[in-house]
Amino acid sequence: MEEVRIGVYICDCGTNISATVNTKEVTEYAKGLGSVVVARNYKYMCSDPGQNLIKNDIKENKLNRVVVAACSPRMHEPTFRRAVQDAGINQYYFQMANIREQCSWVHTDKEMATEKAKALVEAAVSRVQYHEPLQSKQVSVNPNVLVVGGGIAGIQTALEIADAGKKVYLVEKEPSIGGHMAMFDKTFPTLDCSACILTPKMTSVGQHPNIDLLSYSEVEEVTGFVGNFKAKIKRKARYVDETKCTGCDECSKVCPVKVENEFDVGLSLRSATYIQSPYAVPNKAVINKKGISPCRVACPAGVNAHGYVALIAKGQFKEALDLVRDSIPLAGVVGRVCNHPCETECERTTVDDGINIRDLKRFVADYEIKMGREKATPLEITKAEKVAVIGSGPSGLACAFDLLKKGYAVTVFEKDEKAGGLMRYGIPNFKLPENIVDTEIDYLKERGVEIKTGTAVNDIASLFKQGYKAVFLGTGAGVNRKLGVPGEDNANVFGAMDFLKKVNSGQDVVVSDKVVVVGGGNTAVESARVAWRLGAKDVTVLYKKSESETPATCSEVEEAKNEGIKFKFLTSVKEIIIDGDKISGVKCVNESKAQKGEEFVLEAGNVINAMWQDVNKDSLPKEMAFSELGYLEVDPVTLESNVSGVFAGGEVVAGQLDVIASMASGKAAAESIDRYLSGQDIREGRAEQMPKKFEVNKDKVKAKSRMVMPTLGVSERKGNFDEVELGYDNELAIDEAGRCLNCSVCSECMLCLKACEPDAIDHSMREQTIEVDIGSIVVATGLKQFDPEVMYTYGYRRFDDVLTGLEFERLSNASGPTDGVVVKKNGKKPKSVAILHCVGSRDENYHKYCSRVCCMYSLKYAHLLKEKLPDVEVYQLYIDMRCPGLGYEEFYMRLQDEGVKFVRGRAAEITNIPQIDEEKDKLVVMVEDTLVRKKRRLPVDMVILSCAIEPNDGAEQIGKVLSLNKKADGFFLEKHPKLDPISTMTDGVFIAGCCQGPKDIPDTVAQASAAAARALAMISNNKVEIDGAVSEIIADLCSGCRICNTMCPYSAISYNESARVSEINPVLCKGCGVCVSACPSDAITSNHFTTKQILAEIEGVLA
């Protein structure tokens, strides 16, 4: 083994070290240490002469190890390693002892500090003897660059790199690039229009052959290492084909949904389908769609509730009705009798009342009638096969309509005299007038459904002989199940279905004064209300369960009670008491816990049994199969019966079903029949998939109750069957529809699709993930404005006319919500404005730092105000005026000349309580004017808050993806605040712009260009050096436990399946040593921190 010859160099570091540590003494001490050939002391070891000392000594004294006792290795280890390498010995034969940060800077006792320094030097000398000649690695560099963020920083970086001939992927999460700079009005101090100087750059980016602009996208995952990264980028679904869209903006004009426009900071509304700004790049529309609104998910028949409500809110009643009919017929019926599962799921119920979705549907159906309904156009028959539907109730008609829309000729066979089933014969006219049913049936006939009334069909086989290729059975369950009590066969006991049918058919039905109805569903309640109208004076509804368990709709029960109908819950029937050929009463049994079993008698002349509905098996063919409960048996998914080609749905299959559920069942059968007839698999893809849930922001929603439905007064209802609920008028309907929260934003009403001429809209688009290979990444995620609502005393969002800076930018901007006219919320021009500096900045409670640009942009606002409103009084409330550099101080002087009033003081409170007449209807800013030492009250019309700059929300996500360190306030941490504000601790990842710290546009552009230069330097070198101080796994000792795999913070360790051992990728490894300590088999060594080296170091300290 060759002799170890060590050179030791003690640095004074000016007086940083020498003031506390006696460096001469330490140097003498070093000379006496083993294997030390030469020891020197110099004032600045890192300087040229200092480094030359080392290099000369290496040559002349044939040194093969070097120790430098100076500052932290973080500072100058690379410097000395390079020097040593230059002189011809391996750079890892070098060790640095930190006698500055860890000695002279932290101790005051000179004697003890000197002793400590000696110990540290001895430790380094002892250690360095065991160093190995490690080799650093070199990797190649992929010339592509990923830029995250499309604001001015990202744009500048991208253009610089692209102009140099290299490829850039520019990822921006918004639909357009431009960032915050695109929102500004003018820029200080030149007062250039922000958009004018930005848009040429934006256009260049859009057109540059070397820039791949990935807008509306986010970086999800990055793997790899410097020079060789792989990035997974999520491209959010735009629902617009960018290759076809021409940016004509017709789609946003027809879109009924209006939400807050983020580009105008909430000062205006935009449509769900929109183009972000007049200078968007790419100039393509985007559809803001969160998912599917809960009301749509809840509807069993898939009616687009959100869509038609949105259209009604915009006054587009015909389009709303068309949208309903895209899913179901019978809008006027459903709009009156549906049990509305959509309203239960409506998100608005968590604020105040759910939207009255059902009655809005009724409104548009009635509106069509009111305006004079034109005959509907017949649908084209495109299929050869014809289908038979038996039963013209909701399930049959829904099935028929869907089949007709698919191109089949459909014939509906109805045994009754008129079509409609229970809609006509089961629901009383005061709830569902007959003419409504007539109108809806007419509509279906006009569209092409053939309905044969008075035609019963008992023989299905005959239908097939007649040429029908498939049959749908929607015959319902129209038989009243018996009560099962003695006395019920008396003629004065009516089955509810028979009773209602007779009344609805116009037959004369007589009821006695006292009527008892048994049952708890809508049929029972409606029977009671019919009986009251027929003249009964005392009507009671009995139900065996409690009121909260009653299946009848709450509003039905409420109206019945209004009409004087009594309810006895938790009461069952034991016997019907006969008196001759009449009945005298009902023997009841109390079912409540407290009085269970107690019997009592209710007087009654009639009993109406509304207990349950059964299927009339005799009316159906014998070959049909029935379930145990007595209903028709069908496959639950396909609705196919046991007879081939025969499908069934609705109440004949399910017993009691709500109208909308019956219709859903008919629609499902139509789908099955279509597949059956076209030879497709009936079952595939039928199982339901639950859509994703998402958050709905309700922060800004003001409580506003549901519009009350006008109803007929109780006295006006007596003795007649006039409709009780009168329906909304236009105003009430639009008002009610306007309460919709637009949960999913886009409602898929499809109006945009119809309006788009180039056919660019595709609502079936899904988000995609693409993978790109890059060598370096520049993060430029930008800023966000501090929200001053937390500063209660400033009254933001409590008072009108207290604005943030960004809001004022939009107000002043010619393309903003007021076309650049500065007005108060009430439309009047302000005569006085106060601009408050340092809102959220320089504040112990929020951000301690200064946001750097606010003084300048506050001056800019003052200038814009003076320009637009010549007589306006402007107050600037400042702590210090920070206008550094060229042009800024001059701008400040200019504003003083323009007559702006500067008050040195931080505003304490903004109040609207006047103390004197001049303060009436004004916002009073209370401030201590520190220069005149007086407390002042400044009455103004408008207040602008110059808010702090914070890192953008997107920074959190990208920070996690790239494992970037952050500073205390959330901005990304640079490698060195003075000498390297562009690099991060992660090699190959650079930062630029406000994501690193608040700064103005010129500094941002400069930093962006610097980041580009750094990336280009890497590319131009085409290689990157990777530190050789890494860890290694000794395969023979590795047991394959894989504990180290999960511990590695750099994901550098992987498991080799075939060799059954773990392996470290030396390029990713940073030599941190976590795996070394974790390994239970002691199989990992850190090659620059071996046990021998560490023990030697310890011995040196203790010597």
Binding site: Y792, T793, T911, N912, I913, Q915
Partner: protein
């Protein structure tokens, strides 16, 4: 039934008799036991503290020592007593203070070991009782009564307070729990003048004028407050405000406990309403 040791405070026997009567009455109605601290003495409040700090702590600590024996929380309706007793409690955590004061207390056979919790009545009603339980016991909802809640300054102090200093809502919630309307008004956090009304009457009259004006303009028919000093200022000096500013404010200022008592169906004699200077009988007529 939750029990507390009750510290009435001196004003309960003088200017805030109404507060004491109504507090005891509603405690009974709400099912809370308030056991009056036996042999309690004046807490010292601000006057004693300005004379001798250590003696002031001792005077207050005597009450703490007595209360400690009961092993229950010490509840007081008076904001000033609350702060004084709490400050004494905190001072007594310092070993040098504790030893000296306990020396003095020892002469009366007492000792304070630091285990008493001092609480404000309103805070007890909000957290231990909860407004939901109070609402459930309401017999006569005060529907239609427009009340301006005035919380005073002690409830919102940073150290011992429990409500938001910029926008306190505890009293609003109580008002709503009893069925009345809590009128939002901008001056709700403005000072009534406190004890400065004695030395700087004109200044304080101005403050009270601003308060009344804003409350009335916002639609209030009456005000409620938990603090005896606020109540006294706003009630007793209302006439002076009227004569100085040529106004005719007739705004009854009730203790919050009186309002709660009304809603719980208690009668006038249980609420001490006859002790209010600005008579509330007219506006409360329909609820009595």
């Amino acid at each position: 039934m939750k029990s507390y040791t009750y510290f009435p405070g001196c004003s309960s026997e003088a200017t805030a008799v109404g507060l004491d009567i109504s507090t005891r009455a509603i405690a009974e109605a709400l099912g809370i036991e308030l056991k009056e601290l036996e042999d309690w003495n004046c807490c010292g409040s601000t006057p004693y503290g300005s004379l001798d700090e250590l003696e002031a702590i001792a005077v207050a600590a005597r009450n703490l020592a007595l209360a400690e024996k009961t092993k229950l929380d010490l509840v007081t309706p008076c904001s000033s007593c609350f702060v004084t007793l709490n400050k004494a409690r905190v001072h007594m955590m310092k070993p040098e203070v504790k030893s000296k004061v306990n020396q003095a207390l020892a002469t009366a056979g007492l000792e304070y070991n630091g285990s008493v919790k001092v609480r404000l009545l309103i805070e007890v009603l909000m957290s231990d009782m909860t407004t939901q339980k109070i609402a459930a016991k309401v017999v006569k909802p005060l529907s239609g009564l427009k009340v301006a809640p005035y919380s005073g300054c002690q409830e919102v102090r940073p150290r011992f307070g429990f409500d938001d200093p910029e926008n306190p809502i505890a009293l609003d919630e109580i008002v709503e729990a009893v069925g009345a309307i809590a009128v939002p008004y901008a001056s709700k956090c403005k000072c009534c003048g406190g004890s400065a009304v004695i030395s700087e009457q004109d200044l304080c009259l101005q403050l009270m004028y601003d308060l009344f004006k804003n409350a009335v303009e916002s639609g209030a028919e009456c005000m409620i407050t938990p603090c005896p000093l606020c109540q006294m200022n706003l009630d007793a000096y209302q006439a002076k405000v009227n004569s100085k500013f040529n106004t005719n404010f007739n705004l009854p200022v009730l203790f919050v406990t009186q309002l709660i008592g009304l809603a719980l169906g208690l009668k006038e004699d249980k609420l001490g309403l006859n002790k209010n200077i600005v008579k509330p009988n007219k506006i409360l007529a329909k609820y009595l």
